[in-house]
Subunit: 319 residues, 2 copies
């Protein structure tokens, strides 16, 4: 839930004058995206999303994000397409924030994940990986292994408040990741955050992928590992191998995993669980009690981490 | 900012099956309305607002609110029109809440109030008052004088935390209101909450009035008094008589105030300031520090109350 920045009439009028998208008919803050302020903008021409980038997004990354959406949309990926202004620029300033307009994608994200959602998600992820090829800009993954140590260091003294023994457990895992993390698997542009609220469906078909604000260059199979965590666990924290088989099966119909990627999947899935555990843990411990933000439970990801740690091989994921 | 209730796919599908409004293409929580959960619902047919009524709305009042919108819309007031289902009902249940779909009104509410907004607001308010005539249901104003005493009693012990001497100052005013409040002025259906975020403009023309969830039967001139408070004070808490003249002038072009209404205007405007001061004060003192709600400053309305208390007659409002 977001909308942090209020845009005045004059600011909006001046901003829209830079575009050739018709007259504004409605502009409503929407409760999607926790990092930025998003408005659903209806004009006499079409419907758009207006995004103001708030302080958790580094403005220097915006050309990568917007350029990537342009690149992917041009290659048939159903993602928001940045709208370029009369001057050719997609990125400008509104209410003292970097801001951009993108096309509106129809569809609803699934509130309850069904097995039938998982194969289309795997397929779409693989198509995204293939379509990312040739994109000129690069952005390292700030939330891969090297980024986990600072999050851990900023949380370890109070981690046991969340679960007894958590600091020691994570310290051991972190040392293992730093030692064993693969560096020779196929790499490219990954989404890195393809959770259910970032995937739209319409009439049972996948209609859109959104929120590219964690996209970066990293191991392609790590993105599969993120999706295993995001799509294949039930509310009781149990692992649903049928969903995993559908997801990875869908992926492999478009881009078969290499043998090395398959072998690395349990480690990558553990790492992906660690990544979300650490950011949630850090936020949990550092969010002031009065903040207007709902904290997410880090322990959901401790359960996932433990599951992947106990997995013998990729066959546990239905491969 | 709202959206409290998450609706699952199955719940939404079952709900929409009761209507003949096309297939859902998008359903996004919007950050408008602090009392209810609102979704912007796009279907293959049109755009709608889906509202789930949360606990601050008494379900027994919903037939009044929805019936009133039907009544007003049929008489040309640009307000949301409830969409009736195949069974004829506009009110049903979704995610265990009372819920309704209304038409979507184009327009943007003015983030900064200009003099030019005020005459159309006055005119629209008067048209609403005339159009409300003949509406069969009634709903007393729970937030008129009789409702202020309980709010005051629930706040007075800690009122001085907000401003020194506030409890005594409000006690004196409250006694005066209870003694002097008029009961023989023209009455009818009033909106009772026509603040700037409840009025849409499109190309400088008023295009919509929304949020009828405080509407009730009360003195018509009290609604004008609410608008004087809502539209005619600047951010520095000063009174802008030009805006007031435009607002009341617009109102009187459609429905001239009686001499008794004009004479009562300073008292009614003081009372309207008291009403918003008391609800804000109560919420200020009773909202837990960790709540996901932004508290509104009660002192803005103390300044308004003091202004109206010092007014000699309706000429202070530019009449």
């Amino acid at each position: 839930m977001a909308v942090y920045t209020e845009v005045t009439d004059d600011q909006l009028d001046a901003f829209l004058a830079e575009y050739d998208i018709g007259e504004p008919q409605s502009c409503k803050g929407i409760a999607e995206g926790v990092e930025n302020s998003n408005y659903l903008l209806v004009t006499s021409r079409a419907t758009y999303i207006l995004t103001l980038y708030e302080k958790r997004v580094d403005p220097r990354d915006l050309p990568f994000f917007l350029g990537l959406m342009d690149h992917l949309a041009a290659r048939g990926i159903p993602c928001p397409t940045p709208v370029h202004g009369r001057d050719g620029n997609a990125l400008r300033t509104l209410a003292e924030r970097p801001a951009a307009i993108t096309t509106f994608l129809p569809g609803l994200w699934p509130r309850r994940i069904l097995v039938d959602h998982c194969a289309p998600v795997g397929e779409a992820l693989a198509r995204l990986h293939l379509a990312g090829d040739g994109f000129k800009l690069t952005r390292p993954n700030a939330l891969s292994v090297a980024g986990w140590r600072p999050l851990f260091d900023g949380s370890k003294d109070r981690a046991d408040e969340v679960a007894p023994g958590l600091a020691n457990e994570l310290a051991a895992d972190l040392a293992a990741f730093e030692r064993d993390w693969p560096c020779d698997l196929p790499a490219g542009v990954i989404h890195a955050d393809l959770f259910q609220d970032n995937v739209f469906f319409l009439h049972d078909r996948l209609s859109g992928l959104i929120d590219f604000y964690f996209a970066c260059n990293d191991l392609l199979a790590y993105d599969v590992a993120v999706c295993l965590n995001a799509w294949c666990f039930e509310a009781d924290r149990s692992f649903n191998v049928t969903k995993a088989r559908a997801l990875v099966g869908g992926y492999q119909r478009v881009r078969p995993l290499t043998a090395a990627e398959r072998d690395a999947l349990p480690l990558l899935a553990s790492g992906a669980a660690m990544r979300f555990l650490l950011t949630r843990l850090y936020d949990w411990l550092h969010t002031p009690p009065g903040a207007l933000v709902k904290r997410k439970d880090p322990l959901e990801y401790l359960a996932r981490l433990r599951f992947h740690r106990g997995v013998g091989g990729a066959d546990a994921y239905g491969l």
